[in-house]
Subunit: 202 residues, 2 copies
DNA sequence: TCCGATTTTGACCATCTGGTCAAACAGAGG
DNA sequence: CCTCTGTTTGACCAGATGGTCAAAATCGGA
């Protein structure tokens, strides 16, 4: 029953997704217009709507694709690995994602800031479960004396906010630092931060 | 030449500013509509435009007022105080602002994420100068051995991101933690974080 | 009370926005 | 060459949006 999807379909669908990412991440759902998306995709508006039934459909498809990639690094945190290195690696992966996929980060940030109307259920469901799960892992690490005591959930919030900041507030960061690439220094800073936070102290 | 501003003018102007804050912080500049602002202010749209000449004027006025309050705590960081306590106090002040003025924080975040079209010059001017100035203070503290070495500018970014996260991503934070107020735990976590980061280690 | 200044509003407008539709246009297989 | 399926488009629509304007309502002081 499922149709194979022609070559031209795939080309246009990815063009639309990419254009939608560009526009929605810049203006938010309500601030973006279909004309903008169509132009960025190099298509006419009716043609765009031949591939996606509505503005909402494009946005929803984008969010769905995003959420997978977004949660993957946290999933990948390994119970059996070295606690400090696992957490540091997670933070660095998130930072690399901020550098390489800033539009995705801003799309997500826009959605959350505006009250997460499209994904509130995912936050309270899948995401909540995942964080609860990984928090338990971190708590076990702490109990085993492998990490300096810290609130596990707020530790995860810290990793999110510190890394995503460099994508979401990119303009501000660059305005303050000049135009130089901030990500190398950011990587060093984040490494230092979490090492001091998590490594047993004096 | 300047007119005194009647009582009714002040009442309506503040009503409009508050309504604008509510609406613009929720949808961003482009996503918000004058009708929404007018309704939130309890005025008709023409009446609203009697007090402010345009949508842009309301938004600009909001941003101007915001920026003052926003930079004040950083200004207040005292060269002569105890380094660790000054920085911790700054972080706590920012966190309290996230708790008490989340709409302001989200308004600012929306503006920055969308490329800061209205305040790019402030970022590259006033804000940049302020951060440069305070970074020098922090660098001096480090050189004097009062703080563990850390990149001063990225330290300031850390304070911003960790505190504003609780306002900007409020929905996500509450979805994960349940409905309980997250700010007490956040305060403790942030205190711990920066104390470990800045206090001389082993 | 009256008068000028301030405030409020209903009606209106041009433009934009998400979305529709029938018709025109490929492209591949026969 | 024709035809069938998939693709593209110009013209169009109803509702929303930022903004205008003249007239009406209200206010505050003399």
């Amino acid at each position: 029953m499922a149709k194979p999807a022609t070559r031209i379909q795939q080309k246009n669908q990815t063009a639309i997704m990419d254009a939608g990412l560009e526009v929605f991440s810049k203006y938010g759902f309500r601030g973006a217009t279909l004309d903008q998306v169509a132009e960025a995709a190099g298509l006419s508006k009716p043609n765009l709507l031949y591939y996606f039934p509505s503005k909402d459909a494009i946005y929803t498809a984008l969010l769905a694709r995003l959420l997978e990639n977004w949660l993957e690094p946290l999933h990948a945190m390994d119970d059996a690995g070295d606690p400090v290195e696992e957490l540091l690696a997670y933070a660095q992966r998130k930072l690399v994602m901020s550098r390489d996929y800033p539009r995705e980060s801003r799309l997500f940030a826009n959605e959350i800031i505006q009250g997460a109307p499209h994904i509130k259920d995912v936050l309270a469901g899948e995401l909540r479960d995942l964080v609860t799960d990984k928090s338990a892992v971190i708590a076990r690490w702490i109990k085993a004396g492998k990490l300096r005591p810290v609130d596990p959930v707020h530790l995860i919030f810290s990793i999110w906010s510190l890394t995503q900041h460099y994508a979401d507030f990119d303009v501000q960061v660059r305005a303050i630092l000049g135009t130089a690439d901030p990500f190398d220094d950011a990587a060093a800073h984040i490494d230092t931060t979490f090492r001091r936070m998590l490594t047993p102290g004096p």
